[in-house]
Symmetry: C2
Subunit: 198 residues, 2 copies
């Protein structure tokens, strides 16, 4: 296992993956949502796409063994292991400045959309857009009438997911800065997370 890399609270990181490498993302403190994206290294216009993934899986939530597909319906990663109860979200947009303004924030608030673009720029890449993210550990229950709620994660400290690259790609992770809703736990305190290559 390589060294542990830190995703600071409220910040994003991008990591290049070679086909066959496995990325482990760790919920160090247990209740931190990590927004996740993946872009093809060859052509960043091809990326992990939630609306294509739901059609491919026939489910709104991915689980271990699932191929995670792009907007060209090709596997970019495989979710090989998940030590958490598997409650992740594919439905909700990354937070952005407009979201925090709507919640009453008057000043700049860190957000996952800006974190995506900053993390890509930091490795000399450019995200062509902000795709709908795979929100790891984000707990968005859907009821029988189609209602969705924003709940605290059900994961525990040290839970991790492993994803194997099915093509050379760039993975981007953002430790979600949401502190106005309990999406990162009832304490509303965004925390660090970690990742490594295994």
């Amino acid at each position: 296992m390589d060294a542990l890399e830190r995703i600071p609270p409220r910040r994003g990181r991008a990591q290049r993956l070679v086909q066959g490498q496995t990325l482990r993302i760790i919920n160090t403190h247990g209740s931190q949502v990590v927004d996740f994206w993946a872009f093809s290294a060859e052509d960043p216009l091809e990326f992990l796409s939630m609306e294509h993934l739901r059609a491919s899986l026939g489910r709104i939530f991915p689980k271990a063994g699932d191929a995670l597909v792009t907007n060209r319906r090709r596997p970019i990663l495989t979710l090989t292991q998940d030590t958490s109860p598997g409650v992740h979200d594919t439905l909700i947009a990354a937070c952005d400045s407009h979201r925090y303004a709507g919640l009453g924030c008057r000043d700049y608030h860190e957000n996952c959309t800006d974190n995506l673009h900053a993390a890509m720029r930091a490795i000399g890449q450019r995200a062509p857009e902000c795709p709908s993210p795979l929100n790891l550990w984000m707990n968005i229950p859907v009821d029988a009438a189609g209602g969705v709620a924003f709940e605290a994660p059900v994961s525990k400290p040290g839970d991790y997911v492993d994803m194997r690259a099915e093509m050379d790609c760039i993975a981007v992770m953002s430790a979600c800065p949401q502190d106005m809703l309990p999406i990162n736990g009832e304490a509303c305190t965004p925390m660090e997370a970690h990742y490594t290559l295994v």
Copy 2:
């Protein structure tokens, strides 16, 4: 009411809307899915976004009275009336050439993604990407375990939805060419639809 405009089977149409105008989309034959997009006329990088809409509504399905928001979380349209049972889809990507290849199609198959881009080009515009569409009348039930199914529409001939423009925008509609799954009815025969300004 203006003249009825035809959306031919398997094809797309784009229509400019001025703030305050209401677009009526008619399911002429009752079981035709119409993929729907809307882009700001001022800046097409702002568009109707399903992942932002679900967060805004707290529901995965929109209903009459709902503001339909953009990727900047501003209302672009209001769904003012819906004569159908309200079964629409916000979860599934527009069909594309990769989808039909995956279903076994060897030759070109018309698809909603190409229809979006062609319809925009036909009025001298360019879609910056293919946002996840609002799939009018598309019947994608979600079960308690998060499973999704592809079912025939529950609408009837002549059902319509009215949407009022909340900003100057471009609406794009595609009469979905899907004929390999029963998403446009058990006969798997894509049909025309119509629209008008009311």
